[in-house]
């Protein structure tokens, strides 16, 4: 968990600036506008109301939403009833800001109720709320008696929960200790001290002080050494896990309130206090109300406790008059920030530095010294040494008006130091030691002497050499074969006339089939030169002849005129690819093509067979009928007769039936053609056939017998 958290914070930090040192900027207007968005004023619980009010108070917002009416009503309800300790605590906190009209008697009742429950409370959270509420009542109604009779006992019961490493447990039956709880405990202890009717044993207070120091031993920092510190809990301790922000904020709240009520010095190292401030500022603008409150309140506590605590501890000044300077003990962090870390030589920017407290208010009179500045590539040699920045009264900026001439484009690290004018107040402020700030000095780099040539040999002939103005848009067209070479060279110089080596100098050749080849152009001194020996590159080019477009990319973080520029094209004539040459890798297909609608497909129907026209068919029909007509005419001409037709009734009937049957079969064929299907036809034909067989047999045997009689006769 802790390692992940550290990683994450590392991430946050790398995000905030991807380079060596974080320079947190103080609370600014972006915080104020974010606060108005986060806290709408329509908070559901008193805790949220308090957080909103407190943030508005600290940030001194003017157009804050007015919630006092509903909040006060809520406060009075909670104070009157026997609400939970937490609600009571936050009701009092809200009242502390809003100053609602609350009956003195209500305070009296509440105070006595709380006092009675102090000794019953057995978890740290309950004690914290009880003591906290009593302290708040004391501030809001000074004449209510809130002093604890058995302050020593309460102090002891809280102290009993502490662990040897400076952390606290939530309750005596919970073995897990937590840093978050330590913050609560310290705040509660501070409350007990301020509520004590008699002075707490100094030795006990001193053990708590050493606990605080132990707690600060467990402070965490990021992997990279940028001087940011924070507290983190390893265990949730049975409660919901507190993030590092709320943990750190709880410790800050505890330590500052404890420091405020005790005499003597707590040797909190200034760099750690500054580190805590950096941690809170490094978060940026939190998106949740709770985080926002924690961040802003902690920063406020780190900064302005002199004003805030003065009222609270007013009563003690009489008691501890000997130690009147006690509220200076936790040093106030001062933050050095730069409005910009990118400076343009072409625009003649000035180096500006601001020094503020964490909440963005003015710092005491001080001087910012630029101890030295060095190029990141040459750490040994400083370009600037020991310069004092001029303070501009009107803007509140410390300004280095002109960059010295030896500061050329590049990345530098500037080392600043804050020197307070009033040397006596050095203990009051955590100013940190030397502050390293990465600075980018940018400028316009001159591109010149661009030449491109196709060479037959290394020596080269001037005939094909072409010059190019890289600042313009002109292009060249060249042609070469695989025995030749292409030489391309140009120079880059900084505004101060030195050679400039950008990070990105890439020459790209793109074949018309979209195969790309990229070359890094290297430099020798001022001159960048690349020689493409096509004989050695044929394999890499997959033996693809044809047109190659080439373009140059030059870019660097400090180069203001980074460019991508087409240079022209080259007709390359390469030999045929041998059989074992590497195959062309497949080009990525256009992924959008599968989303296109497909081409429509219509089915090709089989073409109907060719037929003659109807007239031809009819003509041939008539032709086919002619033989039949010829046959009939022939019969008539032959003089047919029906004399053989039986004259007897029975054979005549059979003869008629037989002829009718034959006619019926033929008619059936006609019907088959016209409408009937095969099955009906065959069925009918079956009956007709049997009938025909019978009558045919009869008539034929009759005819046969009459002709036999005739012959025998």
């Amino acid at each position: 968990m802790a390692t992940n958290l550290a990683k994450f914070l590392l991430l946050l930090y790398t995000l905030s600036i991807c380079n060596a040192v974080t320079i947190p900027t103080p609370i600014s207007d972006s915080h104020r506008s974010a606060a108005l968005q986060l806290f709408h004023g329509s908070s559901s619980s008193l805790e949220e109301t308090y957080e909103a009010l407190r943030v508005f108070e600290i940030l001194a917002l003017e157009n804050k939403p007015d919630v006092s009416a509903t909040a006060c009503q809520n406060v009075v309800e909670n104070l009157g009833s026997s609400s939970s300790l937490k609600d009571l605590f936050y009701a009092l906190k809200v009242n502390g800001i809003l100053k609602c009209k609350v009956d003195k008697g209500v305070f009296q009742d509440t105070a006595s109720r709380l006092k009675a429950s102090v000794n019953d409370a057995n978890t740290l959270v309950d004690i914290y709320y009880t003591i906290g509420s009593l302290v708040l009542i004391k501030d809001q109604a000074p004449d209510v008696d809130v002093l604890l009779a058995d302050a020593d006992g309460t102090f002891h019961s809280i102290k009993a929960l502490s662990q040897s490493d400076g952390r606290w447990r939530y309750s005596s039956d919970n073995p897990e200790s937590s840093t978050y709880a330590a913050g609560l405990a310290l705040e509660a202890l501070a409350g007990v001290i301020s509520l004590a009717s008699s002075e707490i044993d100094q030795s006990r207070v001193n053990t708590v002080k050493s606990d605080i120091l132990k707690l600060f031993d467990s402070i965490q920092k990021y992997g990279t050494d940028d001087g940011t510190f924070y507290f983190d809990d390893k265990f949730g301790g049975g409660r919901e896990h507190e993030g590092s922000l709320s943990t750190t904020s709880s410790v800050v709240r505890g330590v500052t309130s404890f420091a405020a009520v005790t005499s003597g010095k707590i040797d909190l190292p200034g760099d750690k206090v500054l580190g805590l401030a950096k941690f809170f500022l490094g978060i940026g603008v939190p998106g949740s109300a709770k985080d926002f409150f924690n961040q802003v309140e902690s920063l406020a506590l780190l900064e302005s406790k002199r004003q805030v605590l003065f009222g609270k501890i007013y009563n003690f000044i009489t008691t501890y008059a000997s130690n009147i300077l006690f509220w200076y003990r936790v040093p106030i962090p001062l933050v050095l920030s730069l409005p910009a870390t990118v400076y343009s030589l072409s625009k003649k920017d000035q180096l500006k530095v601001t020094v503020n407290t964490v909440l963005g208010s003015a710092a005491p009179p001080l001087t910012v010294k630029l101890i030295r500045a060095f190029h990141t590539d040459a750490k040994g040699s400083a370009v600037i040494e020991g310069k004092e920045l001029q303070y501009d009264q009107s803007s509140g900026l410390h300004v280095l008006s002109v960059f010295p001439d030896n500061v050329d484009v590049g990345t530098y690290v500037f080392v600043f130091e804050i020197v307070l004018h009033d040397s006596g107040s050095e203990n009051d402020y955590a100013i940190g030691g030397q502050i390293h700030v990465p600075i980018y000095v940018t400028g316009i780099v001159k591109v010149s002497n661009a030449e491109i040539a196709v060479l037959d040999s290394d020596i080269g002939s001037d005939e094909t050499q072409k010059t190019l103005d890289l600042a313009g848009t002109g292009v060249v067209s060249l042609s070469a074969n695989h025995l030749q070479k292409l030489r391309f060279s140009f120079q880059l110089t900084t505004p101060h006339g030195r050679a400039f080596k950008p990070r990105q100098v890439l020459l790209k050749l793109r074949h018309e089939t979209k195969y790309e080849h990229i070359f890094v152009v290297r430099n020798t001194g001022k001159k960048f030169e690349i020689i493409l020996d096509f004989l050695g590159l044929v394999d890499k080019f997959y033996y693809l002849s044809g047109r190659y477009d080439f373009e140059l990319t030059v870019g660097d973080a400090v180069m203001e005129n980074s460019f991508l520029r087409p240079l022209g094209h080259l007709e390359l004539d390469l030999p045929e690819s041998p059989e074992k040459a590497a195959r062309l890798p497949p080009l990525p297909v256009d992924p959008y093509s599968r989303y296109e609608p497909k081409a429509e497909i219509a089915h090709l129907f089989r073409a109907p067979e060719k037929r003659p026209s109807q007239n031809v068919s009819l003509a041939f029909l008539i032709l086919t009928l002619l033989p039949f007509i010829g046959f009939l005419v022939g019969l008539l001409r032959l003089g047919v007769n029906f004399k053989n037709f039986p004259s007897l009734a029975v054979p005549a009937t059979y003869a008629i039936l037989f002829q009718l049957g034959v006619a019926a079969v033929l008619l059936l064929y006609v019907l088959f053609w016209l409408k009937l299907d095969l099955f009906t036809t065959l069925k009918a034909l079956g009956f007709l056939g049997a009938f025909l067989l019978f009558v045919g047999h009869r008539i034929l045997s009759h005819l046969a017998s009459t002709s036999a009689k005739l012959k025998s006769a």
């Binding site: 914070l9 946050l12 497909i601 089915h603 068919s617 029906f642």
Partner: protein
């Protein structure tokens, strides 16, 4: 027992509101974080999700209690991985579990960063997105950077290389390339031609592996089961700081008060979480022209009508889908007919065509794959038979001579038989 019943009864509404085909937007989203601080530093993104009705469940990625499914039921509809540095998830979640989650149709949002862990890289690779193998590399663009007074190393990129945007989108993180063999993954935000992916602190000695506009900054994948995945190389893109920050692209005189990030991710998350671009097809019908009942078989050369209703999910309700590129195929091994459907702007798509003169078992197929929409794949099987024996043409004029010959022969036979029998 009574308690259990009570628990069950209280669970019913929760179970019922989960992902259903009738309401395709996701409901419950598991957000895995490296630290709860992300919840606050990226709160605008989360708030926009919550305000759209999503139920976000924030968990630390190494929380031992996290689980995607219980008793075979998935507990969430979508997963947001805002934990770029996690090496091992807590609980039962691992890369395979996440891929199973996607395979069962759930959505995924992954944000990586400069120090993305192997686990996150592995998940991305499985989705067809290959982050730069050089772990120290970030995307640098010396021409398309966002002008900033405090960030001089040009790793903060203002990218406007995407569809319709007012302000460029700020990006700071690692680049990735898309697997060319994966046709499902698409670049949403790509780097400019001058960008490259390399360690910003070291010199370039060899050409960087990722260069120019082939670098993808944000990619989306729609799997074949319509699960949607968003992969971004930058977690800070989602942060409040980037959402609220102004942006001015280098070389451009216009300074936008607000970066395009918020709009970009609001719209993108709408898509990923199925609030947009989700189609459904209902009421597939086909019948012969002039009839209304669906036949069980068609004959070759029948004229038929095919219709389908397609609706688009608007986030709240199903709206008629309007497009003129929905196509139906009449398919047997390969499409015999492919026709674009007409529509009446009320979601009703229809067309008519003649059944091909090939018989066999055909399918009506609608394969609708459009950019940004879930793919529709409908198929309905239908056999096609040839003509019956009595369905052929019967009175062909060209055949009259043959008929005439046959019938004159028959008449001749009748006359001849009578003459032959009774002539004397």
């Amino acid at each position: 027992m009574a308690k259990l019943i009570f628990l069950f009864l209280t669970l019913i509404p929760i179970l019922c509101t989960s992902f259903t085909p009738e309401k395709p937007s996701d409901q419950r989203i598991l957000v895995l974080l490296d630290d709860f601080a992300v919840k606050s530093s990226h709160s605008l993104f989360f708030k926009s999700l919550q305000s759209r009705g999503f139920d976000l469940d924030f968990k630390l990625a190494d929380d031992p209690k996290i689980a995607l499914q219980r008793y075979g039921q998935y507990l969430y509809d979508a997963l947001v991985l805002f934990s770029p540095t996690i090496e091992r998830f807590g609980g039962s979640i691992d890369a395979a579990a996440i891929l199973d989650f996607v395979d069962s149709g759930h959505d995924l949002i992954v944000a990586a960063d400069n120090n993305a862990s192997d686990l996150i890289r592995e998940i991305a690779t499985e989705c067809g997105v290959d982050f730069d193998e050089d772990t120290s590399a970030v995307v640098v663009d010396h021409s398309g950077y966002a002008v900033s007074a405090t960030e001089g190393d040009h790793t903060l990129i203002a990218s406007d290389d995407f569809i319709k945007s007012d302000a460029p989108v700020l990006f700071q993180g690692i680049g990735h390339s898309l697997n060319p063999s994966n046709s499902l993954v698409l670049k949403v935000l790509s780097a400019s031609p001058t960008a490259f992916s390399a360690n910003p602190k070291s010199k370039l000695t060899s050409p960087p592996s990722l260069l120019g506009s082939s670098i993808s900054l944000v990619s989306v994948i729609q799997a074949r089961n319509n699960a949607r995945i968003l992969i971004s190389g930058s977690l800070s893109m989602f942060s409040n700081r980037f959402f609220n920050s102004g942006v001015q692209k280098a070389g451009s005189p216009t300074k936008h008060d607000k970066s395009g990030n918020e709009q970009f991710f609001t719209e993108l998350s709408k898509w990923v979480l199925h609030e947009r671009g989700h189609l459904k097809a209902v009421n597939v019908q086909h019948h012969k022209v002039g009839e209304t009942n669906e036949p069980s078989i068609y004959r070759i050369n029948d004229d038929l009508e095919y219709s389908v209703e397609i609706y688009e999910w608007s986030g709240k309700s199903w709206e008629p889908y309007v497009a003129d590129d929905v196509q139906v195929q009449f398919y047997m091994m390969s499409p015999y007919v492919l026709k674009t459907l007409s529509n009446d702007k009320k979601g009703h798509f229809f067309t008519s065509f003649k059944v091909p003169d090939v018989y066999g078992v055909f399918q009506f197929k609608v394969e609708y794959d459009r950019l940004g929409y879930t793919s529709l794949s409908l198929s309905k099987q239908i056999p096609v038979r040839p003509f019956r024996h009595n369905e052929y043409e019967r009175f062909i004029p060209a055949a009259y001579p043959y008929y005439g010959a046959a019938f004159s022969m028959m008449a001749g036979f009748f006359v001849f038989s009578a003459v032959h029998l009774y002539n004397k």
